[in-house]
């Protein structure tokens, strides 16, 4: 467990600038929205909140899809994998690192949401449920990106991740909502995007549980592939 934690913390440290920029972006927008008449512009504030939640997922795909590539290109992966570490532990470390970044993001977004949305009647409990949805969606999206990046370059990985995450959404629109549970990033983010001040939405745990189970399956698949690829070759 300790090596996984070390790799995760190291990942966050290496990505500290984009992570910090994202947090300052959330904090800056929250501070700016306090200058508005929150009651009059509450729908705008909610829209901004939803946009930021989407950025979180996009950043997670970016982090997950580029982590292995950056390590291989810089050759830093060699000194790490030369230690007594299984490749699946290395992947776990990277995924946990993305999870930590997404966790910080979700916490900051939820915390600022309490200042802004909370002060104009948005349910605080529901807000934190939405943040949990964002966090799990970020983790699942990063796991898909990480799976592809074990054997593809980051551009291919990002493109395929985009396709993989959007197809269940399209199928769910055409054939019914249950298809949205196949990689439920779409379902989770739909919950966030449909949030309103009416507060009549149910807080269901199913999409979260299914997402976590699929996360484990993706991690297993990524580990299986990553155990079998050559890591010490040119990546371009």
């Amino acid at each position: 467990m300790k090596p996984i934690l070390l790799i995760a913390v190291n990942f966050v440290r290496e990505q500290r600038w984009p992570i910090l920029v994202l947090q300052f972006w959330v904090l800056g927008l929250a501070a700016a929205s306090l200058l508005l008449d929150l009651r009059r512009d509450r729908e705008d504030v909610l829209l901004m909140f939803k946009q930021l939640a989407m950025y979180g997922v996009a950043f997670s795909v970016f982090f997950g899809g580029s982590a292995i590539y950056n390590e291989r290109r810089s050759r830093r992966i060699l000194a790490v994998l030369a230690k007594a570490i299984r490749r699946r532990d290395y992947l776990s470390g990277l995924l946990l690192g993305v999870g930590l970044a997404a966790g910080v993001f979700s916490f900051v977004l939820g915390f600022t949401g309490m200042w802004t949305l909370g002060s104009i009647g948005f349910s605080t409990l529901y807000l934190w449920y939405l943040m949990l949805c964002v966090l799990v969606a970020c983790l699942l999206a990063a796991a898909v990106a990480l799976f592809y990046s074990t054997h593809l370059n980051p551009w291919m990985s990002a493109a395929l991740t985009g396709l993989t995450l959007s197809i269940p959404g399209v199928v769910a629109q055409e054939l019914g909502g249950k298809w949205g549970y196949v990689l439920p990033v779409y379902s989770l983010m739909r919950t966030v995007l449909r949030a309103s001040f009416q507060g009549d939405s149910a807080m269901t745990a199913w999409p979260l549980l299914i997402a976590l189970i699929e996360l484990v399956m993706l991690w297993l698949a990524a580990s299986w592939v990553f155990e079998r690829v050559d890591v010490a070759v040119a990546v371009d």
Partner: protein, 309 residues
């Protein structure tokens, strides 16, 4: 008897690429055993397959055919790497203070607590970086980076050291220090597998050497045996008349000169006939550089590039 420290058995490695029709063969039917407790030099021109062989042993790449073991376990066995220290060619490390970095790599290998603190400071001292322990390695020279790389490879006191060009960026003083570090590790029973283009270093520290060319093993043996020429000998004699043997080097009344091995007997008879006294007859010793050039002459990337241009 302990198992070989590293064993390659009939290993072939091909690199394939998406848009390349034919794979590139980096190693072909490569077989080699590195015994426990020896310092083994691994030589070859650029592109010979040395780094591929090292990466196979470390489990970074998988063989296309053949098998290999490291410390008795198959290549890539993660727990075995706890007993291995590895320094990559063109060492690449995270940007953070040297001591924190070495502690990070030590912790990845299972060290912790006071052991880790003590080992980190001790190894930084041994590679001469203790005064710079709190400086970020991003600001280090290439030679300093290489020493940090060595420190992270040695921090857990490994049984087997695999070093890819460990002294290429070091100045002569640091090179001597690293040589002493490696010899002290050998004296404590550690096995050292070192790939280098600094042939004088290899000649000084290695018990055995292997030369790789075009992915094939072309020479293997004890360093002393390989450097001794079978074709030529060196004779030292005294009380010889001046100019009796052209090309001889005279010093303190002694003359030393080379002869072809088939002519040794007739030359000795001539010395006795002239009233001289033979002091020694030794196989002529060539340098590792001469041997290397004999084996690989015209085969390096450098020669190929020149031929193309």
């Amino acid at each position: 008897m302990p198992p070989p420290a590293i064993q390659f058995t009939e290993i072939t490695k091909d690199y394939r690429a998406l848009f390349r029709k034919r794979p590139v063969r980096a190693l072909e039917s490569f077989t080699l055993e590195v015994e426990t407790g020896e310092v083994f030099g691994f030589l070859g021109p650029n592109g010979a397959g040395k780094t591929t062989a090292i990466h196979l042993a470390m489990g970074f790449v998988r063989p296309t055919a053949g098998v290999g073991t490291m410390l008795g376990k198959p290549f890539g066995h993660h727990a075995t790497r706890r007993r291995v220290g590895f320094l990559a060619e063109n060492v690449a490390l995270y940007h953070r203070p040297a001591e924190n970095l070495v502690r990070f790599y030590g912790a990845l290998n299972g060290l912790g607590g006071k052991d880790l603190d003590r080992s980190a400071r001790d190894i930084l001292d041994r590679v001469g970086l203790l005064p710079a322990a709190r400086r970020n390695v991003a600001k280090f020279s290439r030679g300093m980076l290489q020493r940090v790389g060595l420190a992270q490879a040695l921090i857990h006191d490994p049984d087997l050291l695999i070093l890819d060009e460990p002294t290429s960026a070091l100045d002569p003083v640091a090179r001597v220090a690293v040589r002493e570090l490696l010899l002290s590790a050998r004296n404590r029973g550690k096995t050292i597998f070192v790939s280098s283009h600094l042939l004088s270093e290899i000649e000084l520290i290695c018990d055995r050497i292997a030369v790789l060319n075009h992915g094939r093993l072309v020479r293997l043996g004890r360093t002393a045996d390989l450097l001794e020429s079978r074709e030529r000998a060196q004779i030292t004699a005294r009380n010889l008349p001046a100019g009796a043997f052209p090309g001889g080097a005279a010093s303190d009344g002694r003359v030393t000169f080379p002869v072809g091995t088939p002519e040794v007997r007739s030359t000795l008879e001539k010395i006795w006939f002239l009233g001289g006294e033979v002091i020694s007859v030794n196989p002529e010793r060539r340098s590792l550089e001469q041997l290397f050039l004999e084996i690989t002459s015209g085969d390096s990337d450098f020669h190929k590039t020149r031929e193309h241009s």
